[in-house]
């Protein structure tokens, strides 16, 4: 009992600081979302009016669709590609280790810098991709200016940067797996593909889900890529929820509306993360 009290006392300063840094901004945000504060105007309490307005806002609806599309496609590709790369590089050789190190380079790059670099690569006049297309007499493609291609082009940037993260998580999982089930399968005559599909992958599921959960929380909040490339355009084709919240607050000074969007984004992220956690927990129960 005394030890517990001492432990709590020792933890108290850290908890207080964390509470101040995490809880206070959150509750203040919720408070702002029930006001109608715009810089330069009088503010008053309006209850859930902001939330109703947001749900009726076609720009919000568009932002929600863009965000989910971005998240779904990026996460799926990163998981699949990450898995393939992890299986490829999960060998005890210097070449594999060196390849894995190189694979980490996109991960350590600042997202804004990598997005700005990709913007130049995509450029129809100055970009490398279109230079190659012109050499092959295939004309030019305006990747970021085409409303249909813009979002997939941004997904590719995210995939390039964050697939190594999924690879790392899955490689860690592969190394942690016991060898005996795979060896038993091999002894029983299973091929490599069968061992992979029916033995390795089921055991790997918890690790894959952990990676998915972490990436999901990040990819739903995508922002840097948008700001550094399309700024939400062309039109609002790449305007995600987080970006929309940013411009409402910092460009248009609608602080309360921006706070409402932020609260909704947080709730959406929480719900999806909870769901993903449950899936991860269920997946970890294997025999």
């Amino acid at each position: 009992m005394r030890e517990q009290r001492t432990a709590y006392l020792l933890l108290a300063p850290t908890i207080c600081v964390l509470a101040a840094l995490l809880l206070y901004p959150f509750f203040y945000n919720v408070y702002l979302s029930v006001m109608n504060y715009t810089v330069g105007r009088e503010s008053s309490f309006i209850g859930i009016d902001n939330y109703i307005e947001v749900f009726l806002d076609p720009t919000f609806q568009n932002a929600l669709i863009v965000t989910f599309l971005f998240a779904a496609v990026a996460l799926s590709v990163e998981t699949l590609l990450g898995l393939l790369l992890a299986i490829l590089f999960n060998r005890e050789s210097k070449l594999s280790r060196a390849a894995l190190m190189l694979l980490l380079l996109p991960l350590v790059m600042t997202p804004v810098v990598s997005a700005a670099t990709w913007k130049i690569l995509y450029d129809p006049v100055f970009g490398f991709f279109n230079s190659v297309l012109r050499q092959l007499s295939l004309g030019t493609i305006d990747f970021l200016g085409n409303p249909v291609l813009a979002l997939p082009s941004l997904v590719l940037i995210d995939v390039w940067q964050w697939t190594p993260f999924m690879t790392l998580v899955i490689v860690a999982g592969l190394k942690a797996l016991p060898k005996s089930p795979m060896e038993s399968a091999s002894v029983d005559g299973a091929s490599n593909a069968q061992t992979l599909a029916f033995v390795t992958l089921p055991m790997l599921r918890p690790y894959i889900f952990v990676g998915i959960v972490f990436r999901l929380i990040e990819v739903i909040r995508v922002f840097d890529i948008i700001v550094a490339t399309t700024d939400g355009g062309p039109g609002i084709a790449t305007q995600t929820l987080n970006f929309y919240a940013f411009i409402m607050g910092f460009r248009y000074f609608h602080v309360s509306y921006s706070a409402t969007l932020a609260v909704l984004l947080m709730l959406v992220t929480l719900v999806i993360a909870q769901f993903a956690f449950k899936m991860a927990t269920r997946a970890s129960r294997y025999e």
Binding site: R41, N130, T140, D142, N146, V227, D231, G235, Y252, H254
Partner: protein, 506 residues
């Protein structure tokens, strides 16, 4: 039995070595970080300003402007400061912080700040920030009243918003205070009229900022291509279309014309409203109803979309300020109607200009529409925070930074900065910028800045950022051909009506 001596473990040795390096690095940083700056007088050039050199940073760049403009060594700047009938040292010992845009010329401002410190005893800390971060930090600082920054580079389109919440300090009182300003020395009226106008809040007609720059849009064109294709230098919007058509040769690596396509109230909405006004249109009527979707607006947008889609570079729909400068630097466009410095910066290899197009940029005044010339104008402003605890010291700095000789030293280097008539009449300045290398820049710039520029070419109201963005999105849609021009304008008008209605205009 004697014990064997302990062998040094390799791992421990490496850790110890890394630890020693880390301690040495921290110690060195602490030592150099706390040393006061040394005063160094450069000896290499005949007349230079005494520079403050900190041993921990790179040597402050020798201001070539100061070297080349032989009249202004430190002793002369000091003498010039003494001509003012104010006590420059009245706020000695105070420290002020200025937030400013991070770009190539900031190092020169830092040199000027060092000179100011020598004269006044006031130290100036420059916080260099990328544009988006500058705007966000200013918003936080001003709305919270924190007063982290005493002064800043301010977007004049936000003056109305910040003035409303009393976040900006009115400056007229400082200009009128004889203890703080010698009007004959400062010569506020010498600053370009349109630039001065941008510092006045249209709402309450109070002066809140003084201009750092004066930025009209002018037409920058490749004189070699104009000669090669025997094209008339455009004077009207019809001429502009003809010229763009004749100069558009993507097979040879250059497009006819560049007009920004990227969405943003400071991107395509920096350029298009000039054309709108040239066609006799405007954003709002007297009752703040949007009218830009009328016949004049359609004609202006038809022109804009025609030029960009038929004679513009590929990818123009997403091109903003950075791409505009890059394309000009590389000679990828024959004409560019944008911020006046495009051709100047393109001529400077230190600012990214391709030597192949050096000297090939000439300038023309904005094109004449059916009603008037395009009247785009912008000016970054120096403003003071109302929460500043060093207002007098801050005013002394702003006065110094926008004064004649200090402004000249900066303008001389870049052709950009302090918008004073005196500078443009200065013999040294004209010797460089009126030289054949820069063709007709000075004449075109001064004519445009003084005659055609309109600080109200876009409505300077608190709602402008949102209004501007709403219109810019539809302009981009029109350029991307996802909507025809009338539909784009009508959709924009609907969005703007909603914005203004929520803001309580009707």
């Amino acid at each position: 039995m004697s014990e064997e001596p302990k062998k040094v473990d390799r791992r421990k040795f490496i850790y110890a070595g890394l630890g020693a390096v880390a301690v040495a690095a921290v110690g060195a940083a602490a030592y150099y970080g706390t040393r006061p700056p040394e005063l160094v007088t450069t000896q290499t050039v005949a007349q230079t300003v005494t520079q403050v050199q900190t041993v921990t940073s790179m040597a402050l760049p020798t201001s070539t402007a100061v070297q080349s403009v032989a009249n202004y060594p430190f002793s002369d700047l000091l003498a010039r400061a003494k001509e003012a009938s104010i006590d420059w040292t009245q706020s000695k010992g105070e420290n002020i912080t200025m937030a400013c845009l991070d770009w190539a010329g900031i190092e020169d401002i830092r040199v000027q700040a060092a000179v100011f410190t020598q004269i006044t005893g006031i130290s100036v800390l420059l916080d260099r920030l990328p544009e988006e971060e500058l705007r966000a930090k200013l918003q936080l600082d001003i709305t919270s009243g924190a007063g982290v920054f005493d002064c800043y580079w301010l977007d004049p389109m936000t003056i109305a918003t910040y003035a409303k919440i009393k976040g900006l300090e009115p400056l007229q009182q400082y200009i009128d205070d004889p203890k703080l300003t010698d009007k004959g020395w400062f010569q506020y009226e010498d600053l370009f009229g349109p630039a001065r106008g941008m510092g006045v809040n249209p709402g309450d007609k109070v002066l809140y900022a003084i201009p750092f720059s004066a930025e009209p849009c002018i037409l920058t064109y490749r004189n070699d291509l104009v000669q090669q294709y025997n094209v008339k230098v455009p004077d009207t919007t019809d001429d502009l279309v003809e010229a763009a058509k004749a100069l558009h040769h993507p097979d040879k690596g250059y497009a006819g014309i560049l007009l920004r396509g990227q969405r943003g109230n400071g991107q395509n909405m920096w350029v298009w409203p000039g054309f709108l006004n040239a066609f006799g249109g405007r954003i709002f009527d007297e009752k703040w109803k949007p009218v830009f979707n009328g016949p004049e607006g359609k004609a202006a947008l038809d022109l804009y979309v025609n030029l960009d889609t038929n004679y513009g570079p590929e990818g123009i729909v997403n091109w903003g300020a950075a791409e505009s400068q890059l394309a000009t630097n590389e000679g990828k466009v024959a004409m560019n109607f944008d911020f006046y410095g495009r051709g100047l910066f393109a001529d400077d290899p230190t600012l990214g200009g391709n030597p192949e197009v050096k000297g090939k940029w000439s300038f023309a005044v904005p094109p004449m529409g059916p009603v008037k010339r395009a009247d785009n104008f912008y000016a970054w402003m120096y403003a003071m925070s109302s929460a500043s605890k060093h207002k007098k010291a801050t005013w002394l700095w702003l006065q110094w930074a926008s004064s004649r000789e200090v402004g000249l030293n900066f303008q001389y280097q870049y052709g950009y900065g302090c918008p004073r008539n005196w500078i443009f009449q200065n013999a040294d300045f004209k010797k460089k910028w009126a030289s054949p290398q820069f063709n007709n820049f000075i004449d075109v710039y001064t004519e445009t800045a003084n005659k055609y520029s309109n600080p109200e070419f876009r409505p300077r109201i608190p709602e402008y950022p949102e209004v501007g963005d709403a219109i810019s999105i539809e302009i981009q849609n029109a350029i991307a051909k996802t909507k025809d021009t009338q539909k784009a304008l009508d959709d924009a008008a609907r969005a703007v009506t909603e914005i203004m209605s929520k803001a309580g205009y009707y």
